[in-house]
Amino acid sequence: MAKGKVRNRIRQLRTGEGGLTQSQLAEMVGATRQTIIAIEQEKYAPSLELAFRIARAFGVPFEDVYSFEP
Protein backbone atom coordinates (compact mmCIF):
# COMPACT_ATOMS: atom_id res chain seq x y z
CA MET A 1 0.00 0.00 0.00
CA ALA A 2 1.37 3.41 -0.99
CA LYS A 3 2.24 5.72 1.90
CA GLY A 4 -0.01 8.77 2.17
CA LYS A 5 1.00 12.25 3.24
CA VAL A 6 -0.45 14.42 5.99
CA ARG A 7 -0.73 18.01 4.79
CA ASN A 8 -1.22 20.99 7.10
CA ARG A 9 -1.95 24.72 7.02
CA ILE A 10 -0.10 25.58 10.23
CA ARG A 11 2.15 28.21 8.65
CA GLN A 12 -0.82 30.04 7.07
CA LEU A 13 -2.81 29.91 10.30
CA ARG A 14 0.17 30.96 12.40
CA THR A 15 1.17 33.91 10.26
CA GLY A 16 -2.46 34.90 9.69
CA GLU A 17 -4.46 37.15 11.96
CA GLY A 18 -2.87 35.98 15.19
CA GLY A 19 0.67 36.50 13.92
CA LEU A 20 2.20 33.88 16.22
CA THR A 21 5.89 33.06 16.13
CA GLN A 22 7.06 29.45 15.97
CA SER A 23 8.39 29.75 19.52
CA GLN A 24 5.06 31.08 20.82
CA LEU A 25 3.14 28.26 19.16
CA ALA A 26 5.66 25.72 20.46
CA GLU A 27 5.18 27.00 24.00
CA MET A 28 1.38 26.94 23.65
CA VAL A 29 1.30 23.29 22.58
CA GLY A 30 4.21 21.98 24.69
CA ALA A 31 6.60 21.20 21.86
CA THR A 32 9.98 22.52 20.77
CA ARG A 33 10.39 25.17 18.07
CA GLN A 34 12.30 22.61 15.97
CA THR A 35 9.28 20.30 16.03
CA ILE A 36 6.97 23.11 14.88
CA ILE A 37 9.42 23.84 12.02
CA ALA A 38 9.50 20.15 11.04
CA ILE A 39 5.67 19.93 11.12
CA GLU A 40 5.27 23.11 9.05
CA GLN A 41 7.72 21.76 6.47
CA GLU A 42 5.76 18.46 6.52
CA LYS A 43 8.92 16.56 7.39
CA TYR A 44 7.27 15.24 10.54
CA ALA A 45 3.68 14.14 11.09
CA PRO A 46 2.65 14.98 14.67
CA SER A 47 0.94 12.54 17.00
CA LEU A 48 -2.84 12.81 17.28
CA GLU A 49 -2.52 14.51 20.63
CA LEU A 50 -0.11 17.18 19.40
CA ALA A 51 -2.16 17.64 16.22
CA PHE A 52 -5.28 18.32 18.34
CA ARG A 53 -3.33 20.67 20.61
CA ILE A 54 -2.18 22.70 17.60
CA ALA A 55 -5.71 22.90 16.17
CA ARG A 56 -7.01 23.96 19.59
CA ALA A 57 -4.28 26.63 19.85
CA PHE A 58 -5.65 28.20 16.66
CA GLY A 59 -9.23 27.71 17.81
CA VAL A 60 -10.24 25.95 14.61
CA PRO A 61 -11.57 22.46 13.86
CA PHE A 62 -9.06 19.70 13.20
CA GLU A 63 -10.02 19.41 9.51
CA ASP A 64 -9.21 23.10 8.95
CA VAL A 65 -5.61 22.43 9.89
CA TYR A 66 -4.91 18.98 8.49
CA SER A 67 -5.75 17.03 5.37
CA PHE A 68 -4.67 13.64 4.13
CA GLU A 69 -3.38 12.84 0.67
CA PRO A 70 -3.64 9.11 0.10
Binding site: S23, A26, E27, G30, A31, T32, R33, Q34, T35, A38
Partner: protein, 157 residues
Protein backbone atom coordinates in the same frame (compact mmCIF):
# COMPACT_ATOMS: atom_id res chain seq x y z
CA UNK B 1 19.84 23.63 16.83
CA UNK B 2 17.86 22.04 19.66
CA UNK B 3 19.23 21.06 23.03
CA UNK B 4 19.10 17.37 22.06
CA UNK B 5 21.18 18.06 18.95
CA UNK B 6 23.78 20.04 20.88
CA UNK B 7 23.91 17.24 23.46
CA UNK B 8 24.31 14.58 20.73
CA UNK B 9 27.08 16.56 19.05
CA UNK B 10 28.92 17.07 22.35
CA UNK B 11 28.53 13.42 23.30
CA UNK B 12 29.89 12.40 19.88
CA UNK B 13 33.03 14.50 20.44
CA UNK B 14 33.52 13.10 23.96
CA UNK B 15 33.10 9.51 22.70
CA UNK B 16 35.58 10.22 19.87
CA UNK B 17 38.15 11.48 22.38
CA UNK B 18 37.62 8.41 24.60
CA UNK B 19 38.01 6.02 21.62
CA UNK B 20 41.18 7.87 20.60
CA UNK B 21 42.46 7.47 24.19
CA UNK B 22 41.61 3.74 24.25
CA UNK B 23 43.29 3.03 20.91
CA UNK B 24 46.35 4.99 22.05
CA UNK B 25 46.63 2.77 25.13
CA UNK B 26 46.05 -0.56 23.35
CA UNK B 27 47.22 -0.28 19.76
CA UNK B 28 50.59 -0.15 18.10
CA UNK B 29 49.76 0.63 14.51
CA UNK B 30 46.87 -1.73 13.77
CA UNK B 31 47.99 -4.40 16.23
CA UNK B 32 46.74 -4.82 19.78
CA UNK B 33 49.72 -5.07 22.11
CA UNK B 34 49.75 -7.12 25.29
CA UNK B 35 49.58 -4.75 28.22
CA UNK B 36 49.69 -5.47 31.98
CA UNK B 37 46.45 -5.72 33.98
CA UNK B 38 47.15 -2.45 35.82
CA UNK B 39 47.42 -0.66 32.45
CA UNK B 40 44.10 -2.18 31.30
CA UNK B 41 42.38 -1.27 34.57
CA UNK B 42 43.62 2.33 34.51
CA UNK B 43 42.52 2.67 30.87
CA UNK B 44 39.08 1.31 31.73
CA UNK B 45 38.67 3.57 34.79
CA UNK B 46 39.90 6.69 32.98
CA UNK B 47 37.67 5.98 29.95
CA UNK B 48 34.60 5.38 32.13
CA UNK B 49 35.12 8.42 34.34
CA UNK B 50 36.01 10.52 31.31
CA UNK B 51 32.78 9.54 29.58
CA UNK B 52 30.62 10.18 32.69
CA UNK B 53 32.21 13.57 33.39
CA UNK B 54 32.03 14.43 29.67
CA UNK B 55 28.32 13.62 29.54
CA UNK B 56 27.65 15.79 32.62
CA UNK B 57 29.59 18.68 31.07
CA UNK B 58 27.79 18.23 27.72
CA UNK B 59 24.35 18.16 29.37
CA UNK B 60 25.10 21.35 31.32
CA UNK B 61 26.79 22.94 28.31
CA UNK B 62 23.89 22.14 25.96
CA UNK B 63 21.57 24.28 28.12
CA UNK B 64 23.99 27.21 27.96
CA UNK B 65 24.65 26.55 24.25
CA UNK B 66 20.96 26.57 23.37
CA UNK B 67 20.47 29.82 25.27
CA UNK B 68 23.34 31.36 23.31
CA UNK B 69 22.16 30.04 19.93
CA UNK B 70 18.40 30.40 20.23
CA UNK B 71 17.90 32.93 23.00
CA UNK B 72 16.65 32.63 26.55
CA UNK B 73 12.99 32.35 25.53
CA UNK B 74 13.62 29.30 23.36
CA UNK B 75 15.75 27.65 26.02
CA UNK B 76 13.05 28.03 28.64
CA UNK B 77 10.46 26.43 26.32
CA UNK B 78 9.81 22.69 26.14
CA UNK B 79 13.11 20.84 26.49
CA UNK B 80 12.14 17.56 24.87
CA UNK B 81 8.99 16.61 23.03
CA UNK B 82 7.56 13.64 21.12
CA UNK B 83 9.78 14.20 18.06
CA UNK B 84 12.93 14.21 20.21
CA UNK B 85 11.77 10.99 21.87
CA UNK B 86 10.98 9.41 18.49
CA UNK B 87 14.43 10.33 17.15
CA UNK B 88 16.09 8.99 20.32
CA UNK B 89 14.20 5.68 19.94
CA UNK B 90 15.17 5.34 16.27
CA UNK B 91 18.82 6.18 16.98
CA UNK B 92 18.79 3.59 19.78
CA UNK B 93 17.43 1.00 17.34
CA UNK B 94 20.06 1.81 14.70
CA UNK B 95 22.79 1.50 17.33
CA UNK B 96 21.27 -1.81 18.50
CA UNK B 97 21.33 -3.26 14.97
CA UNK B 98 24.88 -1.97 14.45
CA UNK B 99 25.96 -3.81 17.60
CA UNK B 100 24.24 -7.03 16.47
CA UNK B 101 25.80 -6.77 13.00
CA UNK B 102 29.33 -6.17 14.31
CA UNK B 103 29.13 -8.96 16.90
CA UNK B 104 27.92 -11.37 14.20
CA UNK B 105 30.72 -10.34 11.84
CA UNK B 106 33.27 -10.83 14.63
CA UNK B 107 31.87 -14.24 15.56
CA UNK B 108 31.85 -15.43 11.94
CA UNK B 109 35.32 -14.01 11.30
CA UNK B 110 36.73 -15.81 14.36
CA UNK B 111 35.06 -19.09 13.44
CA UNK B 112 36.23 -18.86 9.82
CA UNK B 113 39.82 -17.96 10.71
CA UNK B 114 39.85 -20.96 13.06
CA UNK B 115 38.34 -23.31 10.47
CA UNK B 116 40.14 -22.00 7.36
CA UNK B 117 43.40 -20.32 8.38
CA UNK B 118 44.82 -18.35 5.46
CA UNK B 119 48.06 -16.38 5.19
CA UNK B 120 46.17 -13.87 3.01
CA UNK B 121 44.25 -12.38 5.93
CA UNK B 122 45.59 -11.01 9.19
CA UNK B 123 43.80 -12.89 11.97
CA UNK B 124 41.86 -10.87 14.52
CA UNK B 125 43.85 -10.65 17.72
CA UNK B 126 40.97 -11.08 20.16
CA UNK B 127 42.42 -14.16 21.79
CA UNK B 128 44.52 -12.23 24.30
CA UNK B 129 42.99 -10.45 27.29
CA UNK B 130 44.19 -7.11 25.92
CA UNK B 131 42.61 -7.86 22.56
CA UNK B 132 39.34 -8.90 24.15
CA UNK B 133 39.11 -5.83 26.39
CA UNK B 134 40.07 -3.50 23.55
CA UNK B 135 37.43 -5.09 21.29
CA UNK B 136 34.69 -4.86 23.91
CA UNK B 137 35.47 -1.24 24.81
CA UNK B 138 35.82 -0.22 21.15
CA UNK B 139 32.52 -1.93 20.33
CA UNK B 140 30.75 -0.23 23.22
CA UNK B 141 31.94 3.23 22.22
CA UNK B 142 31.46 2.57 18.51
CA UNK B 143 27.79 1.75 19.21
CA UNK B 144 27.48 5.02 21.15
CA UNK B 145 29.11 6.96 18.29
CA UNK B 146 26.71 5.34 15.79
CA UNK B 147 23.80 6.35 18.02
CA UNK B 148 24.94 9.97 18.21
CA UNK B 149 25.57 10.17 14.45
CA UNK B 150 22.14 8.61 13.79
CA UNK B 151 20.58 11.18 16.15
CA UNK B 152 22.21 14.08 14.31
CA UNK B 153 21.27 12.69 10.88
CA UNK B 154 17.65 12.00 11.91
CA UNK B 155 17.26 15.62 13.05
CA UNK B 156 18.30 16.74 9.56
CA UNK B 157 15.90 14.44 7.65
Amino acid sequence: MSRSEIRAFGSLIIAGIVVWFIQMRFLDGWQVVDVPASHMLSTYVIATIGMIVGEIVVTAGSTIGETMLNGAAAASASVEDERDQMIARRAELISHWFLIAVVNVLVLQLILQEAYPSPLFTPLAIVSTSGLIFSLLALLFAAHIVKMIATLVLYRL
